[in-house]
């Protein structure tokens, strides 16, 4: 019998970074910006949080650490770092109207390099005497789950065993879904993504909406990186460990048809596919496990194809996705 009680919590833990990443990217794409720099943004968010908490942990004695500060310092650093990446992307693509694909790829190069550089040389740069970046104290605060979760058997393990960022992720996804569907600002934002010229004529400030949506989207995605390091990886930074999750988050946006609410389940499903190879008995055959790791990508491809086959109006991407807007060009 397949062990769901141990499988689901791990799938969720894998899924949360994807959920945050895809929620942020959905918001961004709704404004017409296709941000391929998302993997870079998530790396920068993660490493900024690590730098913040590293500074705090090395300068504070373990017993005098304050739980509130230990959580809020990395959180603020992470948000600030990913906000800067968002601003950079907006400045290049919205203000300077650069090609979005190229800007995004350059941001990924930069962001991944930035993460690996500071992850690899933070200890050297700060002359501290620890062997590796292992922020176990901070991670403890991030991972803290409800104290009675352990007493509730399978229910506790499946629903209550996660750190607070996981619940924050769900809350953000739900509020994004509400924002896009049910508020005037959300309607305006969708209008900007569909047809900026019409939105502009209707008196919507296209540039401001694009900037806000992209920057907030990047901050949400950055949290995904933070969750990965602080919760999933228990505060241990290792270079390139975050891997290709950023790209998968972008794929999830399409998988969910730009609906953050659906994204909650889809990202957990993807998280499950990501680790399914650990749960399928293949014996000693390591090679076959490598083939199982293809699953999330193959599923994404299948979904891409199915979506394009169905061609329903509601499932179309924002019409102006990937294009810069210049008022004087019609």
């Amino acid at each position: 019998m397949f062990d769901f009680v141990s499988f689901i919590p791990r799938a969720v833990a894998q899924g949360v970074p994807l959920m945050l990443g895809s929620t942020g990217e959905t918001l961004t794409q709704k404004s017409g910006n296709l941000n391929l720099g998302l993997p870079g943004v998530m790396y920068v968010g993660a490493i900024c949080g690590v730098i913040g908490s590293f500074m705090y942990e090395t300068n504070t004695a373990a017993e005098s650490m304050n739980g509130f500060l230990a959580v809020s310092i990395p959180l603020i650093c992470c948000l600030a770092g990913s906000l800067l990446m968002g601003l950079l992307y907006c400045f290049l693509t919205v203000t300077l109207r650069a090609n979005q694909n190229v800007t995004g790829l350059a941001m990924t190069t930069f962001g991944v390099g930035f993460g690996n550089f500071f992850g690899g040389s933070l200890i050297k740069l700060t002359d501290s005497e620890v062997p590796s970046i292992a922020l176990s104290a901070t991670s403890g605060y991030f991972k803290a789950s409800l104290p009675f979760a352990g007493d509730l058997g399978w229910f506790g393990r499946i629903f209550l065993s996660y750190g607070m960022l996981a619940y924050v992720a769900v809350a953000i996804a739900l509020s994004c879904a509400f924002f896009l569907r049910r508020t005037r600002a959300g309607l305006n934002l969708r209008a900007v993504g569909e047809d900026p010229a019409t939105a502009d004529a209707a008196g919507i400030d296209v540039t401001r909406y694009k900037y806000k949506a992209t920057c907030i989207g990047c901050m949400i995605a950055g949290l995904g990186g933070l969750y990965y390091v602080m919760d999933y990886a228990s505060g241990v930074w290792s270079n390139d460990a975050f891997g290709d999750r950023g790209w998968l988050a972008i794929a999830l946006v399409i998988f969910t048809m730009w609906r953050p609410g659906v994204g909650i389940f889809a990202s957990i499903l993807f998280g499950g596919l990501y680790i399914l190879y650990l749960f399928i008995p293949t014996g000693m055959d390591l090679a076959v496990k490598e083939l199982y790791k293809m699953l999330p990508y193959l599923v994404t491809i299948a979904v891409l194809i199915i979506v394009s086959l169905r061609k329903s109006r509601e499932n179309e991407p924002p019409r102006h996705l990937g294009l810069a807007y210049f008022r004087e060009e019609r």
């Binding site: 290049l92 694909n101 190229v102 190069t109 992850g119 194809i305």
Partner: protein, 371 residues
């Protein structure tokens, strides 16, 4: 109204008609210089070293010894090959960011032939079979997303992206099957004794053949895009699919044909990597060139001739930056940061080539002319 006063915005942006090429490249050169200054500043802040020493160390890293210069040229050649490969697709507005995967399957096909056929065929025939296999594998990897794009307009950016990871896992699968020595988790040098399937050395250096091949490909791609009927069709489809349909171009066929060519050229890059230099296969053998090539091609405005310069520039900067990193004891990822900064500047400067800024102060005279 307000005594006839008109409110003039501080800044007004308009599109330039066209900029002579030397001015455009002047702006780009200025951006690169500015980027290098910023990179110097960043490095000085982090290491406290003299910036001049940094630039010297960059030059030394790229050209310091003849070996380094050859390695640099070899890397430029492979990057150029991948960039050439993705270019026809981009001209068609088909965002092929799957160069990475297409190179990898090319590598995989080449390695597969080298491993399984080394005692079956004579060396010259083996090399031909390897080349053909890599062409077919790369072409197929490019054709799959193109087929769905042409038929059902499936999003090609994400499709090609996902194909990269499928290719990576496929390579990982075969690496475990072929691993030697057993348990090492990698494929050692293939056919080390017999050197079966290794490309012969031409001229003074073993990299020479790769460089010559890519030089030929560059000329061929230039001619193909500029003077052939196919090249013209690609340009029309890229500018406007509707126009292309109207004049009777079979858009679906052009998309699929172009992506086969694009993928096959990536396959050649993989062939050159495995048979020409590395003689082994890893999941990271392509070293993100599929992504870097996108930027190289775009920076060169999809012109194969300019791509020689841009791929050289990117490789030189990357090599130089990693030399800085080793010289000053920094993590090697520092090179990526510098490359990123330089790219931001180059990307940003395109704005000043396409558009013109009018400030309020200068406007008083110009306004009358503009009306």
């Amino acid at each position: 109204m307000n005594n006839g006063k008109v409110r003039v915005p501080l800044l007004h942006i308009s599109r330039r008609a066209a900029l002579p090429w030397y001015k455009a490249w002047g702006i780009r050169a200025a951006a690169i210089v500015l980027a290098l200054v910023v990179c110097g500043l960043i490095t000085t802040l982090l290491t406290g070293e003299d910036p001049i020493a940094l630039y010297l160390s960059m030059l030394d890293g790229a050209f310091g010894t003849s070996r380094r210069a050859w390695v640099l040229m070899q890397n430029v050649a492979i990057l150029l090959c991948v960039s050439l490969a993705v270019t026809p697709a981009f001209k068609m507005r088909f965002w092929n960011i799957g160069g990475e995967g297409q190179v990898l399957v090319g590598c995989l096909a080449t390695a597969a032939c080298m491993i399984t056929l080394d005692n079956v065929l004579p060396n010259w025939l083996l090399i031909i079979v390897m080349l053909a296999a890599s062409l077919i594998a790369g072409g197929l990897w490019g054709l799959i997303p193109a087929f769905f794009k042409a038929r059902w307009n499936t999003n090609e950016t994400l499709f090609t992206l996902m194909m990269n990871y499928v290719a990576i896992q496929l390579v990982a699968f075969f690496i475990i099957i072929w691993e030697s020595p057993a348990g090492s988790g990698k494929v050692g040098i293939i056919n080390q004794q017999s050197q079966m399937g290794w490309l012969p050395q031409v001229g003074p250096n073993r990299y020479m053949l790769n460089i010559l091949t890519v030089a030929l490909l560059t000329v061929a791609m230039y001619v193909y895009l500029k003077y052939s009927k196919h090249g013209y069709e690609i340009a029309v489809v890229g500018e406007s699919e509707r126009t292309a349909r109207y004049v009777g171009i079979k858009v679906e066929r052009v998309i699929m044909r172009t992506m086969i060519i694009s993928g096959a050229l990536c396959g050649i890059a993989g062939f050159l990597l495995v048979a020409g230099t590395d003689h082994t296969i890893t999941t990271t053998i392509s070293d993100n060139r599929g992504f870097t090539a996108v930027m190289v091609s775009w920076l060169a405005k999809f012109s194969p001739v300019f791509m020689v310069f841009t791929s050289f520039l990117i490789e030189f900067l990357g090599r130089g930056a990693s030399e800085i990193a080793t010289d000053f004891g920094l993590n090697e990822a520092f090179g990526d940061i510098l490359t990123g900064v330089i790219l931001f500047f180059i990307i940003g400067c395109e704005f000043f080539i396409t558009y013109k800024l009018h400030f309020r102060g200068f406007k008083t005279r110009g306004a009358a002319e503009n009306v």
